[in-house]
Symmetry: D2
Subunit: 384 residues, 4 copies
């Protein structure tokens, strides 16, 4: 099948942030072509946005409903293969549901949905339709995250005892949502668009997903202290959580939007019986391996014999830094490889059949609900 | 008074660790002279240890009781001015009590005592006698810790919202206490010498002390998950604690001896409404100031206009790294200046009248008790 | 003009390194479409490579001559707009010359050409045709390089006194060129394909270009010690150079392929009368500003009020690391904007009319010739 | 011999910098006692300085001549064992010569002397008298410098190909020597007190000494560009030097006092056929080992199985940072051990018989002379 995989986008019009990220990520590896979009609920804005992207006018739609309906009506060799959903949380479910019901694969931004009910319904639909669904917990796309996961799977650091995962940001230290130019702040702090959680939903889920993805462990109990520091804000902007995992490991997760001066400092430390691992998203090509009683090693993207999982997600030689967009692109590329295999009636290569799924999305939504519940509870431990 | 301040030491004989640190710290600034010691409960070992230190044989004692009694009997111009106690925890109280009761000032290693009762009794004795008592929470002696404290006092980072203090070590990842050569591991994991806590008493208290010292805040509530990971170990080797402070700030404290590959990685982050501060003990001459919406600044020992409190604890020009012994020495030097002022009938300079006191020690012991209580409790929040 | 800019590629077939980089860089920002290519001098390999890229078979050519001839014959609305040349050095000139002579704009990998004569001829052709020519000294595409350049232009660090630019690599520490699978090593160490220089041509020129681009200064004199350490290697693999600049500044440039364990560690320090700047390619989102007598500042991509030049080359918010491909993509995007402006009869926005030109390429070739001359000379200073 | 080694000091009175460093370094390990001093050429200032140090008035002298004469007249069991010389360069020779001629061992600050003639004379006197002479090239005292030296001696990094040693400072970026309060700047920029060189003598020699000490190699040729950037300054404040070593290795040495914003950033990189080493004085407890084709290792003071030479110069466990004063103290401690062995008629332990000697001092003076000669020469290479 000698053509690129075809993407239709919902959301991501002029002024959006994450839509552009998705488009760059989809374009990077030359596997995906943007063929259509419903970029805004405002048809005129959608039209202008589509023109910016050099789309033909008949593939720029005024709504996701129109897009899905009209694309479905196109001949098979022409219509989009999948829908990419890059809207705020409350608008994930409607297009995702309709796409799945009409036979389109889906890439969806995280968290999966606005509430648990929607999350479960999407999981049910994916299972029912057998379509491919990727959730963009993009931080799992980094090569050194793959390396860490492979090392742990291989027993290199022994049994895991302790996990510390942090996601501090400082950008909402003031009431930025009151500034009209701050669309990103506005919807993220608005319960009608973001859902029941602020920081814990926006970035706490990334931390949860990263910890579980790397370690292969599941959180079984949690005890949370969830706070809103900025006066008048309607959702949480900080949370500190004690964790317990299914193998007996203990952990700490904290996420914050009021950690003044922090950029996007997602990081994780995992301590096993043989070694500790440490990874920082802001310097993602480095993985620290802290051995018991021998010198720490610095693993670097592209240096030496990394695991195949890390190599398969590395594009360029050592010392040529790959970043956020490359990791994001790896989600899209892997998804595209799997869609292509499906279209060609083949089995996807397991090394690329590796991206967050609708089930990870349900886990993430459940994390959000439990952490908010725990934050309000006088009970110490909440089962997850 | 043209002479050095005279120190008698209890503990710190051959094979000890912290005794040598105290001696180097006391010697560094040329204010203190070691004049006598009871270096071991084994008189022969005490004698040999004293010879190593070039002490005259009549000032090497077989027990602290002998030392205090005989030194007291010496003429005022000759006898020791203070006792330095560098024994394991269960042997802090007896020499401290006897020293105070016999009119000697005291420097004591942390934690203050074996149990709360002893701690309260020492606090009572210090108040009663008016003698000077320093507890070697040495990490407060670093110049950049002084700088952080002064910045916060001055309002530079605004109101504090969040504090994250960590003290990970990995040296007890295996059951080191079974190795006969590992004296340090043995007593620290032995309830009869260490007290009710392991990691939380040995290093958790340092973290608590550092957080309260720098911020000037007090912990009011805590919720702890305290663990023993190494099979057969009798005391905790890891603890994760949610904190609440008296101004409404939230916090996390975690300390560990099983964080594989970590050396002595005490560090703290403090987020205010205007900026965040970050400091790592292992690179102590750097203080990160993360401003809202403007570039991060790197404050360095000796560079630019630091607060007088930082300057007063800096010995050498920028770029000539000062370390652990220098910070420890600052506790001794400050103590010595205060003893000298007392001997000369003067008021100590406030900038040097700055070292952890018996009251800090009582706070630290209370922290240990509460954290162990919380670790065992099903109740979420424990008042401190 | 509502379409993407159309690229035809010369080189970059299966097994190549830099061709894939150019394609990812061209694709990232959605401004450029790969429409055709002559990916190898072996027509069959070219065909297979073009199929990998989903090109229609009639736009995959067996040679650059065929590509240029046939594309020129296509209607204006269909044919390629520019040629991207990603072959080894000895094959830059022929396709570049033919492209220019046939009215196509050019992007060319560095160094500009195989020898000085070719370099001057290309410069002449660009001037004569008025076509747009970009040389991919990609490291100038980083946002913090733009920031450094803008700061210096603005006088923020005062008059420049000293420049230290380094480009250490270690990958050629052994005779890798003898390994048949090492195409990259083979041509870079082969005088018939690389030209008169090895390390100094491959990476020394990047260092020279970076130093002159950031500072706006020109090298006027140099004194070089150029070496070949690996026995039997035909070209230099290390060079150390003293520099003098046109404003009186002094400098050091060193580049190496035998600095064992170094990845791709291009970095630069520039010291002025008011401050010093420091930048590392391997952590490209950070720019250190070392002020006289006040704390160092850490400028970060996306944080605070950077100069417009830096902001215009930043895609995503602070803390989401941008890397090598993004910087490379900025060269392509800026080039595409300028080609678009030309096609639309407009003047290019000066902030984007910023990429290395054929004249920078001539300077680079001259640097290579002078440094090799100096390396062989007993005379201390060689005029540049 | 149960007593400390006795030190008499020349220089280091009130307001001095390096005198205090020497005293702290001598005191730290409890091996040395300051018993007398001639702290200033102004007898009254010497007296006050001695009182600050709690010396008895009869051991505070008005001149080094008086000190040496009177101490020599004291009974053997009472008089000083060695003289520590901490004066500006022009005052190294007179007290060193007199001390040696009167049978006292000597510790002398670097560079060895004011000129070559004095240097050779001191070397002659040391050989003639057989007395112990230590030069405080203190940076060789760091444990990780010892480790690097031992690794190289042991062949761990293979044959050395390239050495880059840097010593940038920024403190003389302005004409600080005009400020009356800046004694340190004044004498260092004054040819009548500093000698023929400024930066190259003050810190260039440290860089030269460090490179030769760690590698065991000798510089055989050099080519220097030596500059004075600050108008009106009489000595060099910057120098860039190409080096060639006796094994064929190439190198770069640069030292500067006008590298704005640099503190005391001595650092070195050494590349061998098997690995590269990197060490920064400002974070001295870390040694980077960059292996060919496998992950970089981070060696840390006190972690794992370092060479005995490193362990013998480490005082406290891993993660408790040792700094500048500790490294300086190791010179004094090793010297004291050797003096003690001499006094006791024993052979010094080779692991401690390790400190810079008068011969290293002659090498350093020769380096200064050659670098200044090369800076003025039109000849490319100067033999050393």
């Amino acid at each position: 099948m000698s053509r690129k995989i075809r993407m239709g986008m919902v959301g991501g019009g002029r002024g959006a942030f994450i839509g552009g990220v998705h488009r760059m990520a989809a374009a990077l590896d030359g596997q995906i072509e943007l063929v259509c979009g419903a970029f805004s609920s405002d048809p005129e804005k959608s039209r202008l946005s589509g023109q910016d992207l050099f789309l033909p006018s008949d593939r720029i739609y005024g709504s996701f409903e129109e897009m899905i309906t009209k694309e479905k009506a196109l001949p098979q060799g022409e219509r989009m293969d999948f829908v990419s959903i890059v809207t705020p949380n409350h608008m994930h479910f409607p297009p995702a549901k309709m796409a799945l019901e009409n036979g389109f694969h889906v890439v969806c931004d995280k968290p999966l949905a606005f509430d648990m009910e929607e999350a479960y319904e999407l999981e049910r639909l994916v299972k029912q339709t057998g379509l491919i669904f990727a959730l963009t917990h993009n931080y799992t796309g980094y090569p050194m995250v793959k390396q860490a996961r492979a090392m742990i799977k291989n027993g290199d650091i022994g049994d895991i005892r302790k996990i510390v995962v942090e996601y501090p940001q400082g950008w909402l230290s003031t009431k930025l949502e009151e500034d009209d130019s701050q669309k990103q702040a506005a919807w993220r702090t608005d319960p009608s668009r973001s859902g029941i959680a602020g920081a814990m939903g926006d970035i706490g889920t990334h931390a949860e997903n990263l910890a579980e993805y790397i370690t292969g462990l599941h959180i079984t109990e949690m005890c949370a202290d969830v706070s809103t520091f900025v006066p008048g804000r309607l959702l949480d902007d900080d949370g500190n959580v004690l964790l317990r995992f299914n193998n007996g490991a203990k952990g700490i997760l904290h996420a914050s939007q009021i950690s003044a001066g922090e950029e996007n400092n997602l990081n994780i430390r995992i301590y096993g019986t043989k070694a500790g691992l440490q990874w920082f998203q802001m310097e993602p090509n480095t993985l620290y391996v802290k051995w018991l009683n021998r010198p720490m090693e610095i693993l670097r993207t592209g240096v030496g014999n990394l695991y195949p999982e890390a190599q398969a997600h590395t594009r360029i030689p050592a010392g040529h830094p790959e970043g956020y967009l490359e990791a994001f692109a790896s989600i899209y590329r892997n998804f595209a490889y799997c869609v292509r295999a499906r279209l060609e009636g083949k089995t996807a290569d397991p090394i690329y059949n590796d991206f967050p799924t609708v089930t990870d999305g349900v886990r993430g939504m459940n994390f959000i609900y439990k952490v908010i519940e725990s934050g309000k509870s006088a009970q110490k431990w909440i089962n997850v």
